[in-house]
């Protein structure tokens, strides 16, 4: 179309009373689609235009009720169901203590709904493409003048003759309104392709930034949870002692508590010959052995000692402990492996105490027997 059709017209007035006179004139001529424009809300203008009070109050009330319900339910579920905390012996659903948060959420929901409802739902803002914004009067209309807006959809409207109906009134001007081409920046369409691409880009950027922060940010002080502290670290330098070592040598002529000499470090076969399992086989010792096994051995050796542990993907796979070789070993020989390590397996002497090492061996014997049951075991 080469010639643009006006979408309406605006008549400019100097005072609010002139504006009302203009409205009356338009109404007399049968106009029904009209509205006033003013730089501030004019008292009583709603009544002049025959408008009742806004229904925004219902929105506020419903949202407030929703906030109240949500707050009460959430606090009950958190405090009495999902994470029950005994605070001074009070009931888990402490109704009075939940009132402050309930009230705040009521206000928050109600206010948010009021503001969003007013702007977006009731007033259908933003209207960056409103034809009024392109009117030559818009500066006056937001400053100190008053406008009467007529809609071109009104059956009485005609671009050529409408102006004449205000003859004889105190008007300051008349302007036809034209709809602008929609702005590329303020498109009202949310689902346009560039916008969605932008959205996806922002999402990608945010998630990768978050990933990077969580991956590397935690290693930087002070975000590393006090990993770097001025404390005594074994194998590290320390300024606390004159010799600058963090580890302390034993005082000459003393032994550590509970230390027994272990002479088989270089001769595992001798340990197998000489050492006898001192622990009794009882239910409680087997349970203890099972627990220690689960903690220290299972990650590599597997729950059944069949070398199907969860760490075998990352570490060298150990041999199964159900081989005839392993079954044939004496308890002392296995004890030597636990104490000194063997091949890829390190020593566990510093982590498992002597008694527990013997209990683990008892439990291992139980596993071996269960896996290689003989006929007499069934009796």
């Amino acid at each position: 179309m080469s010639e643009k059709e006006p979408v309406g017209a605006v008549v400019l007035f100097k005072t609010p009373d002139d504006l009302v006179a203009g409205i009356r004139r338009a109404q007399d001529r049968g106009f029904t689609r009209l509205d006033s424009v003013s730089p501030y809300p004019i008292h009583k203008m709603d009544e002049v235009l025959g408008k009742g009070p806004s229904r925004l109050g219902y929105v506020a009330a419903i949202a407030g009720l929703a906030g109240t319900t949500l707050a009460k339910t959430a606090q009950w579920w958190v405090s009495a169901v999902d994470y029950p905390l005994n605070i001074g012996g009070n009931p888990l659903f402490s109704y009075p203590a939940f009132i402050p948060v309930t009230f705040e959420l009521m206000v928050l929901f109600s206010s948010l709904a009021t503001v969003i409802g007013m702007l977006v739902v009731f007033n259908r803002l933003p209207q960056y493409g409103s034809s009024l914004l392109k009117s030559k009067f818009i500066r006056d209309l937001t400053c100190d003048k008053y406008g009467l807006v007529l809609d071109a959809a009104d059956p009485k409207f005609s671009p050529d003759t409408t102006r004449a109906i205000f003859d004889g009134l105190e008007t300051l001007g008349f302007d036809l309104l034209y709809r602008e081409r929609p702005s590329p920046f303020f498109s009202q369409r949310i689902l346009s392709v560039p916008f969605l691409v932008l959205l996806a880009g922002v999402a990608l950027l945010c998630s990768s930034a978050t990933r990077l922060v969580f991956r590397y940010g935690g290693a930087v002080p002070p975000f590393n949870f006090m990993k770097a502290q001025e404390k005594l670290n074994p194998q590290h330098e320390s300024n606390a002692f004159p010799d600058k070592t963090g580890m302390r040598p034993a005082v000459p002529g003393t032994v550590a508590r509970g230390l027994l000499p272990y002479p088989y470090a270089s001769d595992a076969e001798a340990a197998g010959r000489d050492l006898v399992n001192p622990a009794p086989v009882t239910t409680s010792s087997l349970v203890r052995g099972r627990d220690r096994y689960a903690i220290f051995c299972q990650p590599c050796h597997g729950r059944e000692a069949d070398a199907r542990g969860t760490l075998t993907a990352a570490f060298p796979k150990p041999p199964t402990l159900h081989s005839s070789k392993a079954r044939g070993w004496m308890d002392g020989r296995i004890y030597a492996v636990l104490t000194s390590g063997q091949n890829a397996m390190p020593s566990y002497a510093s982590q498992i105490n002597r008694e527990d090492r013997w209990l683990i061996i008892h439990y291992l014997r139980a596993l071996q027997r269960a896996h290689n049951a003989e006929e007499r075991d069934l009796k």
Binding site: V7, G8, T15, P16, D17, V20, T32, R33, D35, V37, S38, P39, Y40, P41, I42, M45, E47, V48, L49, K51, G52, P53, S54, G57, A60, Q75, S79, Y83, L85, A97, F98, P100, V101, F103, E104, L105, V107, L108, S111, L112, T114, V115, M118, L119, N123, L125, Q127, Y128, S130, L132, T142, C143, D144, G147, V149, A153, R179, F186, P221, P222
Partner: protein
């Protein structure tokens, strides 16, 4: 002339009856100009203080809060004192914008915008303190009930959690209230923008506001609802802040008078701060005829009234301590008045109760210098009130073996100064870029802006259909 206009005529809120366009001109023009040397000097000073405060906060986050004077038994010290002080400052804004709006005190129109902005800035300033006090401020989101892989929830029976909800709701609602009020003014600014950049920014922020009556209708209702919601909200906020103290068993804190006492104190200090800043701003921006002596006098009356309430609360606290017959409670208040921190108590009574009494005299209420001095002293006094409450109650409680003394460090003072820097920097940026006086509301309260219609003209009018232009 109708009755409303008569009343307006009798007590002009705007001197010299300017035209509506002049009001716009006077409010908007300072924003289009390059600010003068005074503004830059003030901005440099407050900006530098802010930077110093922020660096000290960064240093605290790095080294830990051992840099502060907080100790055992005074675990809550400067951070909580400053937090309560700043939150209190904010309350005047909501009182002026919401409560006086509901009471149809139209003199509030000229100062509401500014006071609301101060509310928002004060809450922002206040929020930095508890966050820093956590020691690991980057984990501050843990205070929200967010589902997490530790399967932990916050304790909804803790007043600190209530406080979190109160402060964040207060900030959100105040921000929306302020912004809603700004939209028509931003539309006016859009039409008189000095540069294209201004125009684009004001355009976006004003949502394409044109001033159609069908928009005003919902707009006014939204404003009314927000005022109605903000009124109980503002009372709840400082009530809940006082619960942080009152629900504990520390002598001197565990008192039922704390909520009303805190709310009155908040209004008291908030009005004093609004006065301090407005006296400077109206002078600097030549707005003496828009923010008139009548506004200042009214605010001074509020200061006087709340000063009396606060003074009454001090007396009741002392009386209750004596009347309770409880030895530790008695000791706490005796220690407040005569103990090692007696000077803080004396300063508090002097600044909060005695000095504001000059406002009984009309001459003091309507002269700039006395009211300026009083407003500053009230702020000093109110800061010391919080110091007295927090420190004197904690430093000597039930167990004499755990008594101690509190001494703030230079870092504490630096962060306190930095908080003033942050607040005033925000105020300065605000008066530079946004209309500090609500042009819309001032215009709406002018006599020539009223409609003189006969009652029969507005009864039973046919309803007009909506325009879509």
């Amino acid at each position: 002339m109708n009755k409303a206009a008569d009343i307006l005529e009798a007590t002009p809120m705007v001197l010299g009856s300017p035209s509506l366009a002049q009001i716009d001109q006077e409010v908007a023009v300072p924003m289009g100009r390059i600010p003068g040397p005074t503004w830059w000097a003030a901005f440099a000073l407050s900006g530098l203080s802010m930077l110093m405060g922020l660096s000290l906060m960064g240093y605290t986050a790095y080294r830990g809060i051992g840099l502060w004077g907080n100790n055992s038994p005074v675990f809550w010290a400067f951070p909580i004192v400053n937090f309560v002080f700043w939150i209190g400052i904010g309350h005047a804004g909501t009182l002026i914008s919401a409560i006086l709006f509901l009471f149809r005190q139209r003199w509030r129109n000229a100062i509401a915008r500014f006071a609301e902005a101060m509310t928002i800035f004060a809450v922002m300033t206040a929020a930095t303190f508890p966050v820093m006090h956590m020691g690991r401020p980057w984990l501050a989101h843990w205070v929200f009930p967010i589902p997490n892989d530790m399967r932990l929830w916050v304790n909804f029976r803790s007043p600190l959690v209530w406080d979190l909800f109160a402060i964040s709701t207060y900030f959100t609602v105040s921000l929306m209230f302020w912004y809603i009020g700004l939209i028509p003014d931003l539309a006016a600014m859009r039409e008189r923008a000095p540069t294209n950049a201004h125009r684009i920014i004001y355009s976006i922020l004003s949502w394409g506001w044109t001033g159609l009556n069908r928009h005003w209708r919902h707009y006014e209702r939204a404003y009314l609802i927000l005022a109605g919601l903000s009124t109980p909200l503002v009372v709840s906020v400082h009530t809940i802040v006082s619960f942080d103290f009152a629900t504990s068993v520390i002598p001197g804190w565990h008192a039922t008078i704390l909520p009303p006492y805190f709310v009155a104190g908040a209004v008291f200090s908030g009005f004093a701060m609004v006065l301090t800043v407005l006296i400077v701003v109206r002078k600097a921006f030549h707005m003496e005829h828009l923010i008139t002596l009548r506004h200042l006098e009214n605010m001074n009356k509020v200061v006087l009234a709340t000063s009396l309430i606060v003074g009454y609360a001090y007396c009741v606290e002392l009386f209750t301590a004596w009347y309770s017959g409880e030895s530790i409670e008695r000791f706490t208040f005796l220690n407040r008045v005569t103990g090692p921190y007696w000077w803080a108590f004396a300063l508090m009574v002097l600044c909060n109760v005695l000095v504001p009494q000059v406002h009984w005299f009309r001459k003091a209420r309507t002269s700039i210098l006395p009211m300026f001095v009083v407003s500053i002293l009230v702020n000093v006094g109110m800061w010391f009130e919080r110091f007295v409450i927090v420190v004197t109650s904690l430093h000597r409680d039930f167990l004499p073996s755990s008594w101690g003394m509190y001494k703030p460090t230079l870092v504490d003072f630096g962060i306190l100064l930095g908080s003033f820097g942050l607040f005033f920097t925000l105020v300065l940026v605000f008066v530079r870029f946004l209309p500090a006086i609500s042009m819309t509301e001032v215009k709406a309260s002018m006599p020539q802006a009223q409609l003189s219609v006969h009652p029969e003209e507005i009864i039973g009018q046919p309803e007009m259909e909506e325009v879509s232009v």
